[in-house]
């Protein structure tokens, strides 16, 4: 799947492009609206990631021109505006979804996946670490074939850790993924969820799968 990224800030654009590449997409980056519109209408891309503030032609104009020409290319808007009402505005203009800056890459990726065809290699429907499985379709979790009941937040945290198994995920990243809410710094709500998860998943079983990395976060690995 080919993705066109139109973003005037080089660092952000480069980050998005590389991140998408690493996730298995083919991403191309351009820095202004004119060029973006030209490439987007060319028909070589499956998805457009569009910043709204662009030199020459603004993102809004790119989007409007695109839709006026009857082009139905899926568009994911990047915006610095956080307003909830912005969603309505962006959707009204013909965007398919939006991500507000600063965004967690995970979030951007999730929207991209939702808008495009989801490459099988990236997100297998069933995640597995040792004898722990998590079915992202049915939201079923088992260990050693025994079903484990999880609350929504426990599920979200476990899914995130299992998606990135073997990598240390920081508390902040986990919190962002599982909650659409900023907590006070120092609120160690993730620790509580991990304690609960450990009870349900690791207690009385070997090997232990959830590990703490002090001062940073947690990792799931066999």
């Amino acid at each position: 799947m080919k993705i066109l990224v139109v973003e005037d800030d080089k660092t952000v654009g480069e980050y998005v492009r590389r991140g998408l590449d690493e996730a298995g997409y083919h991403a191309e980056l351009v820095g202004d609206g004119d060029e973006g519109l030209r490439l987007a209408t060319g028909g070589h891309f499956d998805l457009l990631v569009l910043d709204l503030r662009l030199p020459k032609l603004s993102g809004i104009d790119v989007l409007r021109t695109l839709r006026d020409r009857g082009n139905g290319l899926p568009v994911l808007v990047l915006t610095a505006q956080d307003a909830v009402d912005f969603k309505v505005q962006a959707l009204r203009m013909g965007a398919d979804d939006y991500v507000t800056k600063p965004f967690a890459f995970e979030e951007l990726l999730a929207r991209v996946e939702a808008l495009g065809r989801r490459p099988k290699a990236i997100a297998p429907p069933v995640l597995q670490v040792a004898d722990l499985t998590l079915d992202t379709g049915s939201r079923e979790v088992t260990r050693a074939r025994k079903r484990i009941e999880l609350t929504p937040k426990e599920y979200a945290v476990l899914e995130y850790l299992m998606r990135h198994h073997g990598r240390v995920m920081s508390r902040t990243l986990i919190t962002e993924y599982a909650w659409d809410y900023h907590f006070d710094p120092g609120t160690n709500i993730v620790d509580v969820v991990i304690t609960r998860l450990r009870k349900k998943i690791d207690q009385g079983r070997e090997p232990k799968l959830i590990h703490t990395v002090r001062g940073v976060g947690y990792v799931v690995r066999a």
């Binding site: 952000v12 998005v16 610095a80 009402d85 967690a104 995920m169 990243l173 900023h182 609120t187």
Partner: protein, 481 residues
């Protein structure tokens, strides 16, 4: 009445009543004093007339006294007949104080009254006196005059002329009733006309009020008031208001530009910082210290992001541009959504939490995300200020057409002096009150809660007792249909 029109009418009527009253009082006393002067003049002239008749008769006849059947001296008939026609009270006495003549009015008095009148003559013989005398405790008041008749060869002692005040009072009574009637007849039309004049004068003001209200709803700031032709006070008021609106429009535009620019300018560097940290932190095999440092940086980036978001949101609130996306939602669903997070927050702080929702649905048109944020803000706040072992109660209830959302804690409470400020932006209680080792929040959380409650047409209230706990109550009006 709470309108200028009403007040003007009241002032108007009061001024009119006061001036009418002053007029009436002055008129009354002037009239009264004139009446009494007339009375005095009348008895003076009656006394003088009597003295003149007696003196004239003496010159013509000499002796003016004769014996009556009982042998008492009386005025001879010819003279008495002349004096009979004098009105009011008239007495003529002899040198030794005996009564020689009494006028018909005087004779009509009761005996004790008559006796008193006679005693007045004792000021004579030859005496002169003048005065007011109340004959009986409830009898008529009499103005009287005593004079002598020196020209009559010493036959007479004194002449007493007197008149009751009743005739004078009668005229004054009539005056009072006339004044009262004039008063009533004058006031009513004056109030009606006053009200009408005030209403007419203020009509353009009402019009200005309506127009300004339409303009200042936040979307029509480009409009201006129509200026009347006259350069009177109202014309100048309209002009001043127009100038004010021009300045308002400018500053609103500047604020709008600022919020858009600030969003961009503040968030782009945050995005860059975040992107860098995120890429680094998810790289495998980093030393733990590096990871910890990156995690701290990420936290700070988030903290900054939250602050920027909150500031921008409040800026939009000030502009009147912050909008709600209402949908019909069962509030119990939002509470349930927040329930697990609330429990986790409570558990990490060692605090118990209870969540109560009613058995029946509580459906309201609300902005789901905002109300969720409101609940979590309040719960997080409650947990933060409640020591280990305490309790936080989140309750949703509906009664009397209102929906109440309360978050009560058994925490440290808020000092009474702090209560009025807790919804102020950036306001924080004494830092000593927060749990040690914890960094304070943005100081905008409760300000945002207040906005969310009020934007839904509701309100937020707080009750607190230091050391006992705090209760936040959010009230939503029930919008049935």
């Amino acid at each position: 009445m709470e309108t200028i029109r009403g007040r003007l009418t009241v002032w108007y009527a009061t001024a009119l009543i006061l001036s009418l009253a002053v007029f009436a009082v002055v008129l009354y006393f002037a009239r009264r004093s004139a009446s009494y002067q007339d009375l005095e003049r009348r008895i003076q002239s009656e006394a003088d007339l009597t003295a003149g008749i007696l003196a004239e008769s003496y010159r013509a006849r000499g002796v003016l006294l004769e014996q009556d059947t009982a042998g008492r001296p009386v005025l001879i008939n010819e003279v008495a007949a002349v004096l009979e026609v004098v009105p009011d009270f008239l007495l003529v006495t002899s040198r030794d104080g005996r009564l020689l003549f009494a006028s018909p009015d005087a004779r009509a008095l009761t005996f004790p009254e008559f006796e008193q009148l006679l005693q007045l003559a004792a000021a004579g013989p030859g005496g002169r006196a003048k005065g007011v005398h109340r004959i009986a405790p409830n009898g008529p008041t009499v103005h009287y005059l005593v004079r002598s008749v020196p020209e009559a060869g010493g036959q007479f002692g004194a002449i007493v002329a007197g008149a009751g005040t009743r005739s004078a009072e009668l005229g004054l009574d009539q005056l009072i009733s006339t004044l009262i009637v004039a008063f009533v007849l004058g006031i009513v039309p004056a109030v009606v006309v006053g009200r009408w004049i005030a209403g007419r004068a203020l009509e353009p003001v009402d019009q200005i009020i309506t127009e300004v209200r339409e303009i200042s709803d936040g979307r029509s700031l480009h409009r201006r008031l129509a200026l009347p032709m006259e350069r009177d006070e109202l014309g100048r008021l309209a002009e001043t208001l127009n100038q004010m609106m021009t300045r308002l429009e400018r500053s609103f535009a500047a604020l709008r530009r600022f919020t858009a620019d600030a969003s961009h300018e503040l968030k782009t560097p945050l995005t860059v910082a975040r992107a860098g940290v995120e890429r680094a932190i998810t790289r495998p095999d980093l030393p733990q210290e590096t990871l910890a440092a990156l995690e701290e940086t990420l936290q700070e980036v988030n903290r900054m992001t939250e602050l920027v978001d909150a500031l921008l949101m409040l800026a939009r609130v000030d502009e009147g541009r912050a909008e709600l996306h209402r949908e019909q939602v069962d509030l119990r669903a939002i509470v349930d959504e927040a329930r697990e997070t609330g429990e986790l927050l409570a558990e990490q702080a060692g605090v118990a939490i209870e969540v109560h929702t009613p058995p029946q649905p509580v459906v309201l048109a609300v902005d789901r995300r905002r109300v969720h944020q409101l609940i979590l803000n309040l719960v997080e706040n409650a947990v933060k200020y409640t020591p280990r072992g305490g309790t936080v109660v989140l309750q949703l209830s509906a009664s009397n057409g209102r929906v109440l959302l309360t978050v009560a804690d058994s925490g440290i409470g808020i000092a009474p002096g702090d209560l009025p400020h807790i919804f102020d932006r950036f306001w924080r209680a004494d830092s000593a009150r927060t749990r040690t080792g914890e960094r304070p929040g943005t100081g905008l959380g409760l300000a945002i809660c207040k906005w969310i409650a009020e934007a839904h047409g509701g309100s937020i209230e707080v009750q607190s007792r230091p050391g006992r706990g705090t209760t936040f109550t959010v009230t939503f009006p029930h919008s049935d249909g």
